[in-house]
Amino acid sequence: MTIIFVSPKNYLNISLLEYSDLYNSFFYQKWAFFAPPPKTNERLYYIFENKNNIKDIQIFEVIEPITKAKSEKNPFNTEEDLLDYVLSNSINNIRETIVNTNEFIIYQEQKLDKKFTKSEKEKFYDNEIDNLSRFKTLKNYSRNVAIKNNIDIRKYNVKFTISLIDIVPFSERKNTNYKHKIQNLYVSKSFNLR
């Protein structure tokens, strides 16, 4: 059983897909271990916009300070380590959902022989992402960011952006002028914290 359900996707475990959920509910396991390793570092920006003054925008990035503190305090870094896990795994969950939704959209377009408009596609993404508990986790975290930075939540709306910064490719590792590619993976809608 274990061998069947934890093996890479193959004919046997795909044909038993309906049972894999039940198996994974009790004995979930994943042993890919950095195969492949991520080629990007993540950034999570919280953007606070003053409701009454469009020029008053405050931006805070939360991942880099946590990973820095995690490294500096190692091995006594439990708090930073767990916080990093919560935020990064939430980001990864959104990332996976975007990939899966994208595949679903492509599949639907082929099936229905039509092209979805940008707003139709956005609806698909919103429907999937807005209901994720991990999305709600990141949304809720904005309150912590606001408190930490003395932001008056009554006066501001907030949105968050997930960005991926590529690691210098191995072939470019000696190139000191290498310009990192930054990809905005996800931008949330603006929301009120009150």
């Binding site: 271990f33 570092n41 896990y85």
Partner: protein, 305 residues
Amino acid sequence: MEKLLNKYSEQFQYSYYSSLFRVFIALFLIKDIVITNSLKNLLYRGNEFYITNESFFLEVLSINTSFVRNNFNFFNVLYLVIIILYLFGVGKRITAFTLYIIFDIMQQLNPITLNGGDNLLKFILLYMVFINSYDYFSISKLNYKNSEHTKLSNFLSNLGILSIKLHLCLVYFLAGIHKINADVWFNGVATYYTLSLERFRGTSFNIKLAQNAFLVLISTYMTILIEISYPFLVWFKATRKTLIILAILLHLSISILMMLLDFQMVFILVQGFFFTNKEILLVMNKIKHYTKKLKNNKKWIIPTK
């Protein structure tokens, strides 16, 4: 087949390390409770920003997940008590089974911070239910008046040990074949990327190490080589020690360079299940002989039954 059954029923040859492992794991779990105590509201009770999910296991048992979350302090104390009982070998297999259930519930209450070590540990705890790990470091041994019961206990224990070994081999094998299938591992540059990840920058040397192309090549291919060869060669006496030493070195380097201490600790500790009582105690006696700490030539007794 009968010969194999007899062999498995006659004697349990791994009682020393099983007992030692029970103690290690109990202390390991107590440490986890202590260090995550200040974060329990965030991780387990769902009182802070982290949105928690329902535990499938609890729902199957018709227990409302929010009931456990609301009474988490009580549940946590219960968990601690069970671990302490397990540490001292009280309640034997019943305690081991209860611990497995509670450990699984704890994992489902907070799945977001789990890593591969936690995943493996869950299965090891399940196998430990069947293993007699109470011959050493326990308030009492498992004693059966009926010899058939002793045989059954030995059989289950040996089967449990075999399951742990096979599971570990399966983990390495799957990790290995996944790696071969990934371009950066196949092309010998994967550790460049793992060492460059900010989240796992365990030392200030990581970037320098990543810049060394030769080191990157060797460490990438050695990782694959160990993971692929381990499941096959660890079963032979001639290659077992080499493979285990290589695996321990691999896990040690990951724990230091990538700050995955707990994760790797579990994998390192599991390696001990490949050594019988005789092998472990012979080594221990040699160590004692060399350190001359043992008075009156008192030695560990190697069990024969």
